[in-house]
C-alpha cells in the first residue's frame, strides 16, 4: 500500500484509458458518437499480441493493432455517416463485431506467451525529482511517455490549428461548416478513423506493455466502457482526459491493493476480511461509467458539459428545420 507505487501504476494503467479517451474525443468532437471503443480495443489487443508473437517485433504489433482499429472503425463510419443510421446502435454493434472477431482469431493464441514487450525506461535527471520522478519518470513503458506527449499535442491541435477549428465546427454546426466548403463527410470519416487508431493503440498498450498477454475479453475487461464515460467526464478536453484517466488508473490499482493488508489505518481491514466489499469496490468504475452516461444523455446536462451540439446527429445536406 505504498501511495507512490499506486500512483505509478495508476499512470501506467491510466495510459490505456487515456489513448481510448483521446480517440473518443476526436470522433465525438466531429459529431460521431463512439460506443464501439471496447470492440476496437479488444481487436487491437489481440492483433498486437498475435503479430508480436509471429514477428517478434512489438512495434510491428503496435502498428498492426492501430491499423486494425482504424479499419474496424470505418464500418461505423460507413453506417453512420454515409447511411445516416443511428450512432448508438451502430456503436454498440461495433463492440460486438470487434469483440467477436478478436475472440475468434484470438482463440488459438496462447494465454500469456512469452513475447518481447514495448520497453520500459526511466528518464535520467527527471527520475530524481522527489515524488514526481518515481511516479511519472521511473521505469515506465515508452507508451506512457508517448501518452505524455500526445495530450499537449491533441490540445494544441484541437484549439489552436486550422484543422482543429474545422473539427470543432463540424461537430458543433455541420451545416455552417458545409456552407463554407468544409467537407463534413470527409472530416467525420477521418476522425472516426483517428479514433480507431487510438483505440487500437489502447488495446496494444494493454497486451504489449501494461498487463501483457492475451486473456480473451478479460484483456480489456470493460475499459472501453470506462473510456466512454471519461470522454464525457473530460468534457471533450484532452487535458481533463489525462487527469481523469490517471485518476481512474490509480483507483483501479488502489482497489486491488486495498484488499491486501490485514490492517488498514490501524483498524481491521474490512476489505480483507470481507471479500464481498472488494467486489463492490471493483464495480465502482463501471457504476461511475453508467452514471456519467446517464448524465450525458440528459440534454440540459449535455449542454452544460459542453457536448458538441451535433453529437449523434447524422448530417444530411439541405434537410431543413433540424
Amino acid at each position: 500500500m505504498d501511495p507512490i507505487i499506486i500512483l505509478q501504476a495508476g499512470v501506467a494503467t491510466g495510459t490505456v484509458l487515456l489513448f481510448a479517451t483521446l480517440g473518443g474525443i476526436f470522433s465525438e468532437r466531429a459529431g460521431v458518437m463512439q460506443l464501439g471503443l471496447e470492440g476496437m480495443m479488444l481487436l487491437g489487443a489481440m492483433t498486437a499480441f498475435s503479430v508480436t508473437v509471429s514477428t517478434g517485433n512489438p512495434w510491428l504489433g503496435l502498428l498492426a493493432a492501430m491499423l486494425a482499429g482504424g479499419l474496424l472503425s470505418q464500418i461505423h463510419a460507413f453506417i453512420t455517416i454515409t447511411l445516416h443510421a443511428d450512432q448508438v446502435v451502430s456503436g454498440l454493434s461495433l463492440t460486438f463485431v470487434g469483440t467477436g472477431i478478436a475472440l475468434v482469431f484470438g482463440e488459438t493464441l496462447s494465454k500469456a506467451g512469452v513475447i518481447s514487450l514495448i520497453p520500459k525506461i526511466s528518464v535520467p535527471v527527471l527520475t530524481n525529482i522527489p515524488v514526481v520522478g518515481p511516479i511519472f519518470f521511473t521505469n515506465q513503458s515508452v507508451l506512457v511517455y508517448i501518452g505524455y506527449a500526445l495530450v499537449p499535442l491533441a490540445w494544441y491541435y484541437i484549439y489552436h490549428t486550422r484543422p482543429g477549428m474545422h473539427l470543432r465546427a463540424v461537430g458543433e454546426q455541420p451545416s455552417a461548416a458545409d456552407s463554407l466548403g468544409i467537407n463534413v463527410f470527409r472530416t467525420r470519416y477521418f476522425y472516426v478513423f483517428v479514433c480507431g487508431l487510438f483505440s487500437g493503440l489502447a488495446g496494444a498498450t494493454i497486451s504489449l506493455a501494461i498487463s501483457p498477454g492475451w486473456f480473451s475479453e478479460l484483456t480489456t475487461a470493460g475499459q472501453g466502457w470506462i473510456a466512454i464515460g471519461l470522454v464525457i467526464f473530460s468534457q471533450w478536453d484532452p487535458v481533463r482526459a489525462m487527469v481523469g484517466s490517471y485518476t481512474f488508473g490509480a483507483l483501479r490499482r488502489l482497489v486491488l491493493d486495498i484488499q491486501g493488508p490485514t490492517m488498514l489505518l490501524g483498524m481491521r481491514n474490512p476489505f480483507y476480511y470481507n471479500p464481498y466489499l472488494g467486489i463492490f469496490l471493483t464495480m465502482l468504475p463501471y457504476a461511475f461509467t453508467i452514471f456519467v452516461l446517464v448524465l450525458g444523455s440528459y440534454s440540459a446536462a449535455k449542454k452544460r458539459l459542453g457536448a458538441p451540439a451535433a453529437l449523434g446527429i447524422p448530417y444530411v445536406r439541405g434537410e431543413r428545420g433540424l
Partner: protein
C-alpha cells in the same frame, strides 16, 4: 423616401439563371425560373412563403443542384457541385437561418473553410484584420467574442463579414432584416449602399414590402415556383402593388377590429419571478391581467423577459415566486397539461422546436394537444381514422398547403407551419392564448391570415396575450399594451402613444414619464 437610380439597359449582368427547375418530393419548388442580377444593384426577390426563393438562391450558391437550367456568372457558364465552388467565383450567401458556430469566436467563424491561416491558428493576428474590415463596412464587432454571446443583430454582422472577407462580389441575403430592430435596419441599409457603391451586387430577399421599396433597384416576384414579375423597377409602385404581385389578389392592410367590452379576467399573474436558461433573473415581479374578449400587447426589445413570461404562463418554465391564476384557479408550477386543461394555448416563438415536432407528420402534429381524449383516443389506442379526419378537416379549414397530411412538417414553408400550429392551438377553443411573434418571417398574405385568426379568437371570447417586437402590429391588434423592460412591467398604455411606449421600452417607468410630462405641461 427612396433613392432609386435609373435602370440602365445593357448594363453588365453578373448572374444569369435561365430555366431553373427544381423538384422536391411533392413540390415543384422552382419551375423554369429566370433570374438576372446586374452589377452594383440591389435586386429584391419577393414571394409568398414557400414560393421557392430560398431554393433558387441555394441553387445559385451550390447548396442544391438544379434538375435543369443553366447558371452563368460573369459571362461564364458554371455548374456548382458544392458551396466552395460558388465561393471561389465570388458568390456569398447569408442564410435565412444563420450558419454560425455558436461556440467559436467571431474570428474563427470568419476563417472557417479558408486555407489561410495555414496550420497554426494565430487568432489575435486575424482579429485585427477582421475588426478593420468590419469598421470599413460599417459593421462594428468584437472579433474575440464567442458567437453565442452576441445579439441577433451582431450575429448578422458576423455573417456579412464572413461573406465579405471571402471577397464576395455577389451577395445573397435571405431575409436579413427579419431579425433586426428598426434602428438596426437603418444602419444595415447604409451598409448595403456602401457595398453597392464598391461595385458589389446584392440579392435581397424580404417579406417587408416597404423595405423593398426603400432599398431595391429592381424587383423579381415569385409565386408557387414561378416568376410573376421579372426584374421590374419599383419606382412608382406601392406596397399594395407589390403585395398583389406576390399573393395574386388584393391584400387588406387595414385591420378591422370591432369594439368589444372585455369580460372577466382569464389570466392573472401576481408578482411572478423566474430565472432564465443561464440562471439569471429574467422576470422580477410581473403583474399582468388578460380579460375575455381582448388582445393585450406586450411590447419590448427582444430579450427583456418576454419569452420567459410566455413560458411561465404556459407552464413550460418554473415560477420562482408569485402566482399564476387561470380562469380563477391557481395553477402555479403545475405541469403543462394542467395549464392546457385550464384552457391555455401557446403559439411559441420557435416554430421548429417548441411549436412542432419537425419529423412528425402534419396529422401527428395536429393531435398533439388532443391525443389523450375522444375522438382521437376513445380508449387506450389512437383512432387513426379520427386522426386523419382531424388533419384533413383542419388542413382545409386553415388552408394549409402541404402535399399530403403525412408530410413531415419540417418540409412545410414558414407560413404553412405557422398555420399548422395555429390550427392545433385554436381548435381546442382556448380561453387564454399566448402568441409570441406569430407573424415573424411570414409573407403579407400569411400575416393577414394569422391576424384575422387572432381577431376571430378575440371575438369568440378568448383573452390573448400578444408578444411582438413589431410595434405596428401591436398597435393595430391590441386593446391595450404592457411594456416590459429587464423583466419588469414598465406600465400599461391604452392610447397607442408610441413615444411613451418607446421610452418605456428603453427602461423609463410610466410614472416617471407622466411626471416628466406633468413638469413640461406646468
Amino acid at each position: 423616401m427612396s433613392d432609386h437610380r435609373p435602370v440602365h439597359e445593357n448594363v453588365e449582368e453578373v448572374v444569369q439563371m435561365l430555366g431553373i427547375t427544381k423538384q422536391f418530393p411533392g413540390v415543384l419548388a422552382n419551375d423554369n425560373v429566370d433570374f438576372t442580377l446586374r452589377k452594383g444593384e440591389i435586386h429584391a426577390l419577393l414571394g409568398e412563403n414557400g414560393a421557392g426563393k430560398s431554393t433558387l438562391m441555394n441553387i445559385l450558391t451550390g447548396l442544391y443542384k438544379q434538375d435543369s437550367g443553366t447558371i452563368t456568372i460573369n459571362g461564364v457558364r458554371r455548374s456548382f457541385a458544392s458551396p466552395s465552388q460558388a465561393i471561389a467565383v465570388g458568390i456569398g450567401m447569408v442564410h435565412q437561418h444563420f450558419m454560425l458556430v455558436p461556440t467559436q469566436t467571431v474570428t474563427e467563424n470568419v476563417l472557417l473553410g479558408l486555407d489561410k491561416p495555414g496550420f497554426h491558428l494565430n487568432l489575435s493576428k486575424y482579429d485585427k484584420a477582421i475588426q478593420n474590415l468590419g469598421e470599413q463596412m460599417g459593421l462594428p464587432i468584437d472579433p474575440a467574442n464567442k458567437v453565442w454571446q452576441l445579439s441577433v443583430g451582431e450575429q448578422q454582422r458576423v455573417e456579412l463579414i464572413k461573406v465579405l472577407y471571402r471577397g464576395a462580389e455577389i451577395l445573397i441575403l435571405d431575409e436579413p432584416t427579419a431579425v433586426l430592430a428598426p434602428v438596426e435596419i437603418e444602419s444595415f441599409f447604409a451598409t448595403l449602399r456602401r457595398m453597392t457603391a464598391l461595385g458589389k451586387s446584392i440579392v435581397f430577399i424580404s417579406h417587408k414590402l416597404n423595405e423593398v421599396l426603400q432599398i431595391a433597384d429592381r424587383v423579381t416576384v415569385m409565386r408557387r415556383g414561378k416568376v410573376t414579375a421579372a426584374g421590374v423597377s419599383p419606382a412608382g409602385m406601392t406596397v399594395r402593388d407589390l403585395a398583389k404581385l406576390m399573393v395574386g389578389r388584393e391584400v387588406a392592410f387595414d385591420i378591422h377590429k370591432p369594439p368589444l367590452t372585455p369580460g372577466e379576467i382569464v389570466l392573472d399573474t401576481d408578482g411572478v419571478e423566474c430565472i432564465n436558461d443561464k440562471g439569471l433573473p429574467a422576470l422580477r415581479g410581473v403583474n399582468i391581467q388578460v380579460r375575455k374578449n381582448e388582445i393585450v400587447g406586450l411590447a419590448g426589445v427582444a430579450g427583456n423577459g418576454q419569452r420567459e413570461l410566455a413560458e411561465v404562463i404556459t407552464g413550460l418554465r418554473k415560477c420562482a415566486k408569485g402566482k399564476i391564476i387561470l380562469a380563477g384557479d391557481e395553477v402555479t408550477n403545475q405541469d403543462p397539461r394542467s395549464f392546457i386543461n385550464h384552457g391555455i394555448s401557446h403559439i411559441p416563438e420557435d416554430r421548429h422546436h417548441v411549436g412542432s415536432a419537425p419529423n412528425l407528420s402534419l396529422a401527428d402534429n395536429l393531435i398533439m394537444k388532443s391525443y389523450s381524449h375522444s375522438p382521437i383516443a376513445p380508449g387506450w389506442t389512437i383512432n387513426n381514422k379520427a386522426v386523419d379526419k382531424n388533419a384533413t378537416d383542419l388542413r382545409q379549414e386553415y388552408d394549409i398547403a402541404s402535399p399530403t397530411i403525412k408530410t413531415p412538417v419540417r418540409l412545410l414553408s414558414g407560413g404553412n407551419l405557422q398555420k399548422v400550429i395555429l390550427a392545433r392551438e385554436i381548435s381546442g377553443q382556448p380561453a387564454v392564448m399566448v402568441a409570441m411573434q406569430p407573424t415573424r418571417g411570414l409573407d403579407v398574405g400569411a400575416i393577414e391570415g394569422v391576424q384575422k385568426l387572432l381577431l376571430k379568437q378575440r371575438e369568440a371570447g378568448a383573452g390573448i396575450l400578444l408578444v411582438s417586437e413589431e410595434l405596428e402590429e401591436l398597435l393595430a391588434l391590441s386593446d391595450r399594451i404592457y411594456v416590459i423592460y429587464d423583466g419588469k412591467i414598465m406600465g400599461e398604455v391604452f392610447d397607442n402613444d408610441v413615444e411613451k411606449i418607446g421610452l418605456m421600452m428603453t427602461g423609463t417607468p410610466l410614472e416617471k414619464i407622466n411626471e416628466m410630462r406633468g413638469v413640461e405641461n406646468a
